[in-house]
């Protein structure tokens, strides 16, 4: 780890002034940043610790249905917040399917959006990586690509965004509130990440000195609460990143899908919302052929970036399964194994 100056600003203004200096990096829970610093992938000259900045740690369930979540809210606190978990059960399930209990106690909402890809070539300073160093090349191409992108990738970068939390958030039209040296602004979460293209490796839409201050879910977020699921396929049932994941939320009216929300995780450099898949379900009665058609639509344009063609078929099957589970209804209690496709009431442990 390189040496750095450490400062702990007492106000947002102080934090942004310090964070706008070259080489500065904001520190919140630290679960990703410190890890990256330990392997010399992140080398900040200055750490601006925002954990004591007032006003960033509130969960506001507003009267009109809008939900505002401060950037410093810890993942575990959001998942366990009774009113939030009731309004947005798929978001709570996604949170509880990510990382470990210790990490969820430290990791923050804003930090989750800011976390870096877990591409092994990004994590290895001795590998070429455009995302780490523009123009360096990409050693992931032709390398071990099992967990890489099948949507929205380019020759510049085939990495995926690893978040679970962001997947249902993208489906729910979440807005990111940002504060910076030029003042406050906001952007939809689905546009917060730019995809790689012919000239750039993609990244987050933040100017130097800007920081996420809150996430805002629109007033209709809770209208999907009774039919909302997040499912995640991973190499082991707990404490593993998604190979593919799917958030599905349905607003049912008299047995018909009045509105659907669908997003995928583990397939692209951003949480992958599919509006065309959602439209396929609109006004339909739950039916496996309809679900399959939505799954086809969700993976439209998917192409393997290496030895990962299996993820395309796997993602389609997971979308179908997630729609089925959402149509069955949100479980009364958080499943023992959140987001797992393995039922835990079969008497057989999924922890093998």
């Amino acid at each position: 780890m390189n040496r750095f100056d450490y400062i702990r600003p007492a106000s947002l203004e102080e934090a942004i002034a310090a964070g706008s200096e070259p080489g500065a990096s904001y520190l919140a829970g630290g679960t990703n940043l410190l890890d990256l610093m330990k392997v010399d992938v992140a080398r900040p000259d200055k750490i601006v610790d925002i954990t004591r900045v007032p006003g960033l740690d509130r969960i506001e369930m507003q009267n009109d249905g809008t939900i505002r979540i401060g950037a410093m809210v810890r993942n575990a606190d959001l998942a366990r917040h009774p009113a939030f978990a009731k309004a947005c059960p798929a978001v709570a399930e996604a949170l509880l399917s990510g990382a470990s209990p210790q990490l969820r106690n430290a990791a923050t909402v804003g930090g989750n959006l800011m976390q870096q890809t877990r591409c092994a070539y990004f994590y290895d300073p001795y590998s070429a990586c455009n995302r780490r160093q523009k123009g360096a090349g990409c050693d992931a191409r032709g390398g071990d690509t099992r967990n890489h992108a099948v949507l929205g990738w380019s020759d510049n970068c085939i990495a995926i965004h690893p978040s679970d939390f962001c997947v249902p958030l993208a489906a729910l039209d979440t807005v990111v509130e940002i504060e910076g040296p030029e003042g406050a602004r906001e952007t939809p979460l689905t546009r917060f990440y730019s995809l790689p293209d012919d000239t750039t490796p993609g990244g987050v839409d933040l100017a130097p000195g800007e920081m996420i201050t809150a996430l805002r879910l629109p007033r209709d977020a809770a209208s999907f609460a009774s039919h909302a699921r997040y499912l995640k396929l991973r190499e082991r049932t707990s404490y593993a990143f998604a190979i593919v994941s799917a958030a599905v939320m349905l607003r049912m009216q008299e047995g018909v899908i009045a509105e659907a929300r669908i997003a995928l995780g583990g397939v692209a450099a951003r949480p992958w919302r599919s509006v065309i898949a959602e439209e396929r379900l609109r006004d339909g009665e739950p039916d496996v052929d309809l679900f399959a058609s939505a799954a086809e639509a969700a993976l439209q344009g998917a192409e393997p970036s290496g030895a990962n063609a299996f993820k395309i078929e796997l993602a389609k099957r997971l979308v179908i399964r997630a729609i089925e589970r959402a149509a069955e209804g949100t479980p009364a209690r958080m499943p023992a194994l959140p987001a797992s496709v393995f039922a835990s009431d079969t008497g057989v442990s999924a922890h093998v």
Partner: protein, 164 residues
């Protein structure tokens, strides 16, 4: 620039001057305060051997800058026993063979204390296994660990009834 921090560790106040802001909470506990019960396994937040409580919440001490938790109350494995009497979670780990080599055990026990305090798992072994999934045991003492957490939960519930 040296940083002066103050931590309350197992009830005792420790003022520490950090010459280098890079010090993790894990390194400060082990190298500066001399509490080596908290173990360094992976040092990357993956194994859980460094699990401690900060203001009552279980976290990985290896992924925490000591400077960032200035002023916090820390509980380590050394702070669980009272007047020579083991904490119910410690006693349950011994009686249920919740370990073999013992290297991960302080982290497992601190994680179990945190899990029981969180109150989500109840007596469902599947929820306990999921709730303990941030702690890896390479001897694979997992069945004993699960039994120990179940047993500890019963002991703590009994203690509460007695003291209530």
């Amino acid at each position: 620039m040296p940083l002066s921090i103050s931590l309350t560790i197992n009830g005792d106040r420790h003022d520490t001057l950090l010459e280098d802001a890079r010090a993790t909470l894990l390194d400060v506990l082990r190298e500066r305060v001399g509490l080596t019960g908290t173990k360094k396994g992976c040092d990357r937040g993956q194994c859980g051997a460094c699990t401690i409580l900060v203001d009552g919440r279980r976290i990985n001490a290896c992924l925490t800058l000591a400077a960032s938790v200035d002023g916090a109350a820390i509980t380590t494995i050394e702070g669980l026993a009272r007047k020579g009497e083991l904490h119910p979670v410690q006693a349950a780990f011994i009686e249920n063979d919740g370990f073999r080599c013992g290297y991960c055990t302080p982290g497992q026990i601190m994680s179990a204390v945190g899990l029981i305090a969180e109150g989500d798992a109840g007596d469902d072994p599947e929820r306990i296994r999921e709730g303990m999934s941030g702690n890896i045991c390479r001897c694979a003492a997992y069945p004993g660990i699960t039994q120990a957490v179940l047993d500890a939960q019963r002991r703590l519930a009994n203690d509460e009834r007695i003291s209530a």
